[in-house]
């Protein structure tokens, strides 16, 4: 890099390379499929996430709450709907969103939506995600809903959840109506343009269709228990 004394020239060269290669690709294949379009032969190691319209899996599985009791998804289900939040303590992205999660979750519960936060991470990989730190986290954030341990990570696997935070909202009939992120800006709440989860909860409470049913944001991969 010592030899790069003219960054503008390097930029022009990079831009030309990308433009030329994109053009060559277009010329080589007049009606190309995207190179990253899923192909039949690709080795894809990723569980399928629960589809919109599906019921929550493993609803009756009892999980240990930070207060020592046990709760299942079925037990916390509300009259207006149910919110399942996969989260943890160590993840920097959870840390960015967790105060919003607490506020939205507490408000949802008051509106008749049952709420449960689930930690499926293996504490052997992240000691910060062990039971005692979870207790402190729930207390600090003022959770009015149960924060539970998915002791085998099987609930997360059944949902097809792979990152934290990742939320699943079910309507009064138990059908998945929203899956994805809390909102579109983890780092700066004031800059949020799409408060997706809050909008979805507001829709579920009045039995309206959720406008944006699936969203994605970067997050920490769940470290499943029993995985290599």
């Amino acid at each position: 890099m010592n030899s790069i004394r003219h960054p503008r020239l390097v930029l022009v060269a990079v831009a030309l390379l990308v433009a030329v290669t994109a053009r060559a690709r277009a010329q080589a294949a007049p009606s190309p499929a995207s190179p990253a379009t899923p192909t039949g032969g690709a080795d894809v190691a990723r569980p399928m996430a629960l589809a919109i319209g599906q019921p929550a899996p493993m609803r009756e599985t009892r999980m240990k709450v930070v207060d020592g009791r046990e709760r299942s998804i079925a037990a916390v289900a509300g009259k207006k709907g149910t919110l399942v939040i996969f989260m943890c303590k160590h993840c920097p992205w959870v840390k960015q969103w967790q105060r919003r999660i607490a506020r939205i979750g507490n408000a949802a519960q008051a509106q008749g939506v049952g709420v449960i936060a689930v930690n499926a991470n293996d504490p052997a990989a992240y000691p910060e995600d062990d039971f005692e730190p979870m207790k402190a986290q729930a207390k600090q954030l003022g959770f009015k809903f149960p924060y539970v341990v998915d002791a085998t990570s099987e609930v997360a696997r059944a949902f097809g959840a792979t990152r934290t935070p990742e939320v699943f909202l079910f309507d009064a009939e138990g059908r998945l109506v929203y899956h994805g992120a809390v909102d579109d800006n983890a780092r700066d709440e004031k800059a949020v343009q799409n408060p997706w989860l809050k909008q979805a909860i507001d829709a579920v409470v009045v039995d309206k269709v959720v406008a944006t049913a699936e969203t994605k944001m970067f997050g920490c991969g769940i470290k499943f228990r029993g995985a290599s």
């Binding site: 890099m1 390097v10 990079v14 290669t21 060559a24 899923p38 190691a45 994605k216």
Partner: protein
């Protein structure tokens, strides 16, 4: 023009970051690689561009512990396979204001080739790269020389997994290459 100025700024930041102590296993005076913004479309163009028999795209972030932990194994395999035609595309998903940290980490790992920063909205980037990707980090995509996806996984990998997926992509590329007249 604004874009070009932004890229120029990016390069300058990266180079300046390289002057800072790296704190890694390489020399503290290691020079950081250029780090430039790249959209999902840009990734597809890069993957399909000539010059490689296989391309491994790794999505990472400085805040992501497993991403940082797998990087030495990934770089070791990539360096060993480079002569066989492997192209490594490292894409940081850090925010733009984290560029100095990105550049410092890469310098500490001994990375000197151009590296990338995911550009555009997060959801557009994730779905644009592959709708099956949830956005979980780290994530790795391996393509053959024609830009066909050979393997994709979320989560950290070890040296053996990186090497095996690259070997498979290289083998497929060589098997489908047209003989030179």
């Amino acid at each position: 023009m604004a874009k070009i100025q932004r890229h120029w700024f990016t390069l300058v930041v990266s180079m300046l970051a390289g002057c800072a102590p790296a704190g890694g296993r390489h020399s503290p005076r290691a020079i950081a690689p250029p780090v430039v913004p790249l959209t999902a479309d840009g990734v597809h163009a890069l993957v399909a561009s000539p010059g490689a028999r296989a391309t491994l795209v790794n999505l990472w972030a400085t805040w992501c512990a497993p991403c940082r932990e797998e990087m030495p194994a990934l770089l070791k395999v990539a360096r060993a396979r480079r002569a066989e035609g492997l192209r490594l595309v490292l894409i940081s998903t850090d925010a733009e204001d984290q560029l100095p940290q990105v550049a410092r980490f890469l310098a500490a790992q001994g990375v000197t080739d151009t590296s990338y920063l995911a550009a555009g909205s997060e959801m557009a980037f994730i779905d644009g790269l592959d709708p099956r990707w949830s956005g979980a980090l780290p994530a790795t995509f391996v393509y053959d020389g024609a830009g066909r996806l050979e393997a994709f996984w979320e989560g950290a990998a070890n040296e053996a997994r990186f090497d095996q997926s690259i070997q498979t992509a290289l083998t497929h590329s060589i098997a489908t290459e047209k003989p030179t007249p």
